[in-house]
Symmetry: C2
Subunit: 240 residues, 2 copies
């Protein structure tokens, strides 16, 4: 059975403007790879309703799993929950269980549950809440879409909550070797190896460091013995 496929939608003005560098995508990619879920596509869009709804609609129909990050806070530009409701064709309103979580959190921390914060209890109809152990305001899952916060610490906690509920595939194993030759000298033998091991994937990531040209060749597959065999053969080829 092939591995489940996944996509990520980042609502990320701060990434598109160059203000911050992505951390959530990198985290999710690593977690999915360990569990045998193939992250096949990532889209980063700004906090405009039409862009979010269109991307969500495309991704949720195409992939088994969709994770979003960002846009579920209390400010006026936090519109992800409403966009998810629209894309899933369901209504959205403040929900009692989410409101109760917020009320308890803000009472404990001595802050007011004002109108802005109450926006974070808006949950699409039929969604399941995702716990937020850091700052209380929950994420949610609806259908195959999992909606998480953009703050990396919260995002990572939400990923940890949701991962055990997802059916993974065989974990993807990888091994890599460093070859100090130009990629153009690696390409021919690598193509032959890829033909000999059609069940594995071969990637070549060139580097130039201190005047040395080379590439990290990465072999990936779910069968450890096959990955071993291919890497051994690779090492022999380039030891000559």
């Amino acid at each position: 059975m092939p591995n489940p496929t996944a996509a990520m939608l980042v609502i990320g003005n701060e990434i598109l403007s160059g203000r911050t560098r992505d951390a959530n995508m990198h985290h999710l990619a690593g977690e999915f790879t360990k569990r045998g879920i193939d992250l096949a596509e990532v889209r980063i869009v700004s906090d405009e309703s039409a862009a979010i709804v269109e991307a969500l609609t495309a991704l949720k129909d195409r992939y088994d799993i969709v994770v979003t990050s960002g846009g579920i806070g209390p400010t006026h530009d936090d519109i992800t929950a409403d966009c998810v409701a629209e894309a899933m064709g369901v209504s959205i309103d403040v929900r009692d269980d989410a409101r109760a979580i917020l009320a308890e959190h803000y009472e404990r921390t001595g802050k007011e549950l004002n109108d802005a914060r109450l926006r974070m209890a808006r949950i699409p109809d039929g969604a399941t809440l995702i716990e937020n152990p850091v700052s209380a305001a929950p994420g949610f899952s609806i259908g195959n879409v999992h909606v998480m916060a953009g703050v990396p610490q919260v995002f990572q906690a939400m990923v940890a909550s949701v991962l055990p509920t997802l059916t993974g595939g065989a974990p993807l194993l990888s091994q890599s070797i460093r070859v100090e030759r130009g990629e153009g000298d690696i390409a021919g033998p690598l193509r032959e190896l890829a033909e000999e091991f059609p069940d594995l994937s071969f990637g070549s990531y060139p580097f130039h460091e201190n005047g040395i040209y080379g590439a990290h060749v990465v072999v990936r597959g779910s069968d450890g013995a096959r990955v071993d065999a291919a890497v051994t053969q690779l090492a022999e080829t380039f030891a000559e």
Copy 2:
């Protein structure tokens, strides 16, 4: 006149697998912002022909400028140039000017211009070459699509070559202040300010550090005096 819009397409198996963390997107976002070009969307796809062609087709019709990174090296999984030709509806073959650049480079460095390396001289019909001062193999521009290498050092050099040829808008100016209050207390005043300054954009990026909750509030716009005015008003609001 509104600023030109742009999209980036990353052909990035190594990013989707979690092996490496993006650097090119972050670089391009910063360069575009300085020049008043709005990076509106980024997509990251794997090195599968159908995925690349589909994303390119969607992005080139929607945005003024499209930049791709990755997939133009000599190995069997480097298929970007062929995908661009398909998406643009033109033919592709080894081109004499590109071959000459490679021939000179490999003669100088004492390496063979073998079949794998010659693949890097495959250029879609009608494209203009983008110089690669690092490792010779050129990128190219065709229509509104600019095709660049994925190695960060080469990508940055190619961006530097192409940027002067692009028409930018008014550079986006930004100022930010750090507010040590919960985002839920910032949201109300921020919404009012956003209504008072409809020509500016306001972003709020929450942080939790050493037990302190707060947000960096960023004000962006092309009129420096307006940005100043809004930030001054913000500072006064939160100084109370």
